[in-house]
């Protein structure tokens, strides 16, 4: 009699109303921040459909290296085989389904299931089955048929390993699309490429993943309030708390970012060798932004849950490190259920950067972002607070303002902006955030 289960229909109604309000009125229905039915939709319609970042190549530099990663509840082994090829393998034995690998990182040519002892190579090939003839007859098992199951899709973008549960997902380069031009500022400052500084920080936050993703896609506005303490304490070395208001906000496909200014010629205080290589390695149009406009992407989100942050902050109260030291972090907001995420945060540095700089850059990140970061501590407080008050019934009739910039900000004409996508000449606007939500509703209501 009922065509759809009631709960699924209710979820769809919430989403349709939220989409309508965003498109027609620049408002977001608060309910979407914490609703079990919505989380179930997200798992199926977003995290099982899009490209999800799993690991950086430099986390597994040697043959046999592996790390365990997840897409929501699906565990994958990301391994490098003896030929240097990378594999993303579903971490479930083909026999009785035991989790094959239970260590989060290591080096091994094989994975042996503890349950009955099926053994696979790090390419996923079934290599050994105990007492095979006794169990399966004189011909044994067809080892090709019973190999590990790879992720339906795996591709690598500038050292970043992504997987998708969706065999039909567009190629990764196409998926990233115009955003690639902006990611270059993070990823291509040196021809040597980037490397991770050790293992990622991981911590659990009672917050919705979308709050973090949409903050990182373009929220320059919150800095003057959320992060005021770090300005007062001399960590964020700026005089004017509203220093981010005059940047440039970008929408590029489903993704977006925010440019911030730096003192002309200072290049974010990167060491001279990195400044030289970024001016050499980036495209002339990108270099023009660095040289003439003195701006650089600060934060970015690649839909759905991968974010970047380039910043520069003080590490010490006095001395040479009491000045802005630049760093780059890459992070994912991994959903763990409605209103709950596990945050994974990596520090990345140019492989050919001076060793002392690598260490200081990681310390500048720790001081400000990550679980102990003096900025991210307050982000966590805010995102947890939103999630908490969105849990009730009122959030189903409570609309949030996403209208910054709608009344008075026009895009920069294409002729005056060298990059792809759409650029807006201010940072205190919601164009990128709205783009995030448009991408979100496109997936959720497909």
């Amino acid at each position: 009699m009922i065509e759809q289960p009631t709960r699924e229909r209710e979820t769809q109604e919430i989403l349709q109303e939220a989409k309508r309000a965003l498109e027609e009125e620049g408002k977001l229905l608060a309910k979407v921040y914490n609703e079990p039915g919505i989380f179930e939709f997200e798992a199926k319609k977003i995290f099982a459909k899009t490209w999800i970042f799993l690991a950086h190549e430099t986390e597994i530099p040697w043959p046999g290296d592996y790390v365990l990663r997840r897409i929501i509840d699906d565990s994958f082994i990301v391994s490098r085989d003896e030929d240097g090829q990378i594999h993303v393998l579903f971490n479930m034995c083909r026999h009785r389904g035991m989790q094959l690998c239970r260590s989060d990182a290591g080096n091994s040519s094989h994975f042996r299931c503890p349950y009955h002892g099926y053994t696979y190579t790090n390419t996923g090939k079934l290599n050994g089955v105990p007492f095979q003839k006794e169990a399966y007859g004189p011909d044994g098992l067809d080892k090709d048929e019973w190999a590990m199951t790879p992720a339906p899709r795996m591709e690598i973008y500038e050292g970043m390993i992504f997987a998708s549960l969706n065999p039909e997902v567009p190629p990764l380069e196409e998926y990233i699309g115009d955003m690639g031009w902006y990611l270059d500022f993070y990823l291509k400052k040196s021809p040597a490429g980037l490397e991770v500084v050790g293992a990622p920080q991981r911590w659990v936050m009672p917050a919705d993943w979308k709050l973090a993703a949409e903050n990182f896609i373009g929220d320059g506005y919150h800095t003057q309030s959320t992060h005021m303490s770090t300005i007062k304490a001399g960590i964020m070395r700026v005089k004017n708390p509203a220093y981010l208001k005059d940047g440039v906000q970008i929408t590029a496909g489903m993704h977006g970012c925010l440019f911030m200014g730096f003192k002309p010629g200072s290049y974010f205080n990167y060491p001279q060798s990195i400044v030289d290589s970024m001016l050499e390695n980036l495209e002339p149009e990108q270099v023009k932004l660095l040289k003439e406009s003195s701006i650089l992407p600060l934060n970015a989100t690649v839909f759905p849950n991968l974010s970047f942050l380039h910043s520069a902050m003080a590490i010490e109260a006095e001395g040479p490190l009491a000045t802005s030291v630049p760093y780059l972090t890459l992070r994912i907001w991994q959903p763990m259920g409605p209103g709950k995420i596990e945050v994974w945060s990596w520090c990345l540095v140019e492989k050919d950067a001076p060793e002392e700089f690598k260490k200081n850059s990681n310390r500048a990140l720790l001081t400000t972002f990550g679980a102990s970061g003096t900025l991210e501590q307050d982000d966590a407080e805010n995102w947890s607070g939103v999630t908490r008050v969105a849990a009730g019934e009122m959030s189903g009739q409570h609309y949030l303002n996403y209208a910054a910039g709608l009344a008075h900000v026009e895009p920069i004409p294409d002729s005056e902006w060298p990059g792809p996508g759409t650029a807006y000449p201010k940072n205190y606007v919601d164009f990128a955030q709205r783009r995030f939500w448009e991408s979100y509703f496109d997936h959720m209501l497909k």
Partner: protein
């Protein structure tokens, strides 16, 4: 395990109890005074590894990699009126047990190991966080006072079960 005199052990014990009290009562500025000028305060990331690969503590990745000068910045931030993560403050209780004191590498130093259970609750939600760790400290006596020269916090977590580290361990 206990290689020092009863008197030294008692002094170290009193130091750690006093320190825990300062943190639980939010006297972060006074807590900072317990550190030597060249202090190190470290909390490495821990990775879940197979037994044969050791305890999983990273040598490169940290949650805290602090000096006295960077701790000063963190305390200054808490002293502003904008440190939202700690206002209203977390209610913490540092349970410090299993204190073991050995001779240090230098004269006037002792090597101290202790277990820490940190209870933390915030707001009026029934949920609370618990962090468990071993701490390996080096204490140095300066002008008759014990000071914290080095602390390494060795977590019993591969994923931190608290939403941020706006508190000290």
């Amino acid at each position: 395990m206990i290689e020092t005199s009863v008197e030294t052990y008692w002094e170290v014990y009193s130091f750690l109890m006093h320190e825990a009290e300062l943190l639980d009562e939010h006297h972060e500025r006074e807590w900072l005074e317990l550190f030597t000028d060249d202090a190190e305060y470290l909390m490495p990331v821990r990775v879940n590894r197979e037994r044969v690969d050791g305890d999983g503590f990273s040598e490169e990745a940290f949650y805290f990699e602090e000096t006295r000068g960077s701790l000063e910045l963190r305390v200054r931030r808490l002293e502003t009126e904008y440190a939202w993560a700690e206002d209203p403050p977390s209610r913490t209780r540092h349970f410090v047990t299993n204190i073991r004191v050995a001779e240090g590498g230098e004269e006037n130093e002792v090597a101290v190991r202790s277990n820490l259970l940190l209870y933390r609750s915030r707001g009026s939600v029934p949920h609370y966080d618990v962090l468990s760790a071993e701490r390996k400290d080096v204490l140095r006596k300066e002008e008759g006072q014990w000071k914290l020269k080095k602390r390494v916090i060795l977590l019993d977590h591969s994923v931190l079960t608290t939403h941020n580290l706006s508190v000290f361990l």
